[in-house]
Symmetry: C2
Subunit: 245 residues, 2 copies
DNA sequence: CGAATAGTGTCTTTTAGACACTATCGG
DNA sequence: CCGATAGTGTCTAAAAGACACTATTCG
């Protein structure tokens, strides 16, 4: 493919860049929103923030906001900055879900949001949230009119989390470093809203080597249960077969 | 959750929106790029366009460009408009891959691109392309310095196509309406760069009901082969187990 | 010991891979 | 009938589900 750029330029590229002014173009708004999940009281919860500025002032919304060209080196940096600014919590997992952009989702005009989803380990939940931030069970969010199209965004993020739960061991990120297999299974069951067979679940986790036994035990119910920890298997590990949908 | 917005607004939302001027903000560039794939000469090809404007003038790039707030109702509309404008071909499949945004990918400044990937049925390839559009085998693209970070974008799109090929029957979209199972298998093998076991492949497609036999046959080699067509199973069908990676 | 929770043994089911086999067609 | 391509029969292997079973601890 002996391809090479052609010559004969009227203007140099350098000149072009210097004269380039984004403000002469009619650009869309571009922002980042985050669906941050945690398990509270045996329910999957998502973090919502009460908006205190227009538009949609007073409504609940996903944490998020505009890209700051000076502060953010990339989209993930925007997500992390917004997270810190609005919640002060530390993440266990962050992944881009998808982007939604159209003419009608924001009254300020054509806008694009890049949606991220994040998981927080329940051990870190002691820290208090910033003001106007509240955890809401995702099952109840559908009955609240969120700002903009954020009900849809929550749905998309939950769908991604469920899908990953069928194929991977990602929900470990919702637990502290050491956990029992029963605790892990419970988290899976909460996310999927159904019971899983005990034997299958344990075999799946052990055989794939995503968890490793520690020497410690923990007693929460009647009998001691062994504590396990993640083997730190790489984030992109997929089980050979999904859990049955 | 008896949540409801609080009152006592200094300014009305309507006033806020009317006074809102995006140009007072330092916003990033936002655009859509597309990785359009087709099979040519038993190779997976991607469509590239020679840029005839700054920046990166003369280099090859994925088809794409800025959102037009007046013409496009949503991101997919931008993708389809760019496609038509630059190639004039009709798509079999379109899906968002992911968004990439950072301060350095475009010399004009902080920019975000929403990447789509598309498949074109080889029967539609007779139509001639717009000028300066060329099909390139994806294996060779890694040796060409594309504009911006488009080498990376091609890689991401190819990875998505390969992943979908392991889990779904998506590659049917690269074939005309009627095809033999051998032809379909060949397409899979091209995308995955490896041979697949014949018996497994046919059983997988038939048992899942993603293809349906027609009464017609086709003779291309030594023996007639039955023609099949897609059962139009929904786009989000996943086989119970992936092909072995 | 009984109740409750943790954890296992083992059979079946599903679906992929291996691979030898049969079928059909042109020359 | 030979060679090549299309297509099948059937065994094995991997991993999930079903479900009865055993193990440990507290009171």
């Amino acid at each position: 493919m002996g391809y090479k750029p052609k010559g004969s330029m009227q203007q140099t590229e350098k000149q072009f860049i210097e004269n380039y002014d984004i403000h002469q173009y009619d650009v869309p708004l571009t922002m980042v929103d985050m669906a941050i999940f945690s398990i509270i009281d045996n329910k999957l919860n998502v973090l919502l923030v009460e908006r205190n500025i227009f538009p949609e002032k007073g409504k609940l919304a996903l944490p998020g906001g505009f890209i700051d060209k000076n502060k953010d080196s990339d989209l993930e940096a925007t997500a992390l900055r917004k997270l810190k600014q609005k919640t002060g919590v530390k993440l266990s997992y962050l992944e881009q879900v998808e982007s939604v952009g159209n003419a009608t989702r924001d009254p300020r005009g054509w806008s694009v949001t890049i949606l991220y989803f994040a998981l927080i380990d329940s051990a870190k939940l002691n820290k208090k949230l910033m003001s106007r931030s509240y955890w809401h069970p995702v099952d109840e969010v559908k009955h609240i009119a969120l700002a903009f199209d954020h009900n849809l965004l929550v749905q998309k993020a939950v769908a991604r989390l469920r899908s990953k739960t069928l194929y991977t061991a990602l929900p470990m990120a919702l637990l502290p470093e050491k956990f029992t297999l029963t605790e892990l299974q419970t988290i899976f069951e909460i996310i999927l809203s159904r019971k899983l067979p005990v034997k299958s679940f344990r075999r799946r986790m052990m055989d794939a080597g995503v968890v490793e036994a520690t020497n410690e035990s923990k007693i929460s119910g009647k009998r001691k249960a062994r504590l396990y920890k993640s083997t730190g298997i790489k984030k992109d590990f997929y089980f050979p077969r999904p859990l049955q949908a």
